[in-house]
Subunit: 136 residues, 2 copies
């Protein structure tokens, strides 16, 4: 057994393991997303697998579009009794936001594709499509 009993990480090791930038870890410490870790005798930060878990949670949440403030809220729920309704509501409101962005991007993509097609002639492009986007 003894697959990984209380492995320690330096800041650099934690950065590699979590996929979070070295400096960003210190930043998260400053804004209290991450706790002040214990230090070794030489003053180096000494992280545990719990820290790795928490930091990975933060990274994933950020990648899903949660702001640092929202992540702080999620972490509070992780730490305490998590209020499932609150989490779900936050997730779904982000889904709405993303869906809207996707729809808008689709429209602009069509407009740009149309414009590119008109550019094929070799003359100065007619910006009718962009104009249309401007008017709407």
């Amino acid at each position: 057994m003894n697959t990984s009993r209380k492995r320690d990480y330096t800041r650099g090791a934690l950065a590699k393991a979590s996929g979070v930038n070295l400096e960003t870890i210190r930043f998260y410490e400053k804004i209290n997303l991450m706790p002040n870790p214990p230090r070794t005798s030489n003053g180096y930060r000494c992280y545990s697998s719990d820290h790795l878990k928490r930091l990975t949670f933060i990274r994933r949440s950020r990648e899903l579009g949660f702001s640092n403030n929202e992540v702080a809220g999620l972490l509070e729920m992780v730490d305490g009794t998590h209020d499932c309704d609150g989490v779900k509501h936050l997730a779904l409101s982000n889904v709405d936001l993303i869906a809207h962005k996707i729809a808008d991007l689709g429209k602009l993509k069509l407009a740009l594709e149309g414009m590119a097609a008109e550019c094929a002639g070799g003359e100065t492009p007619d910006c009718a499509i962009i104009d249309k986007l401007l008017e709407s």
Copy 2:
């Protein structure tokens, strides 16, 4: 007909008409997304409907997730200052960019929806979303 013949806007009026913050207009001027407008005798900025059009385009593009730098590229296309080949290339590379963004957002949306679907809601002690974010 004379629906709107060369209406002038103050900075405040332009802000209201475009939906862009008053201060942001000055900022766009500083980073050259917006031109230095003519001034009235008292030094006030004097905008036209062309400025409004351009600023609205910038706002929409920003809302669609383009960086200010990317918006600058889009505006070059709108201005038609480039030869057709350059314009077409820029347009198509932006289409790629948008397609990529759409794909990424689609993945995010699926991930969030999947997590939310597994979440029972209510005040149950376990939250599927948080569990997923905590997974090793």
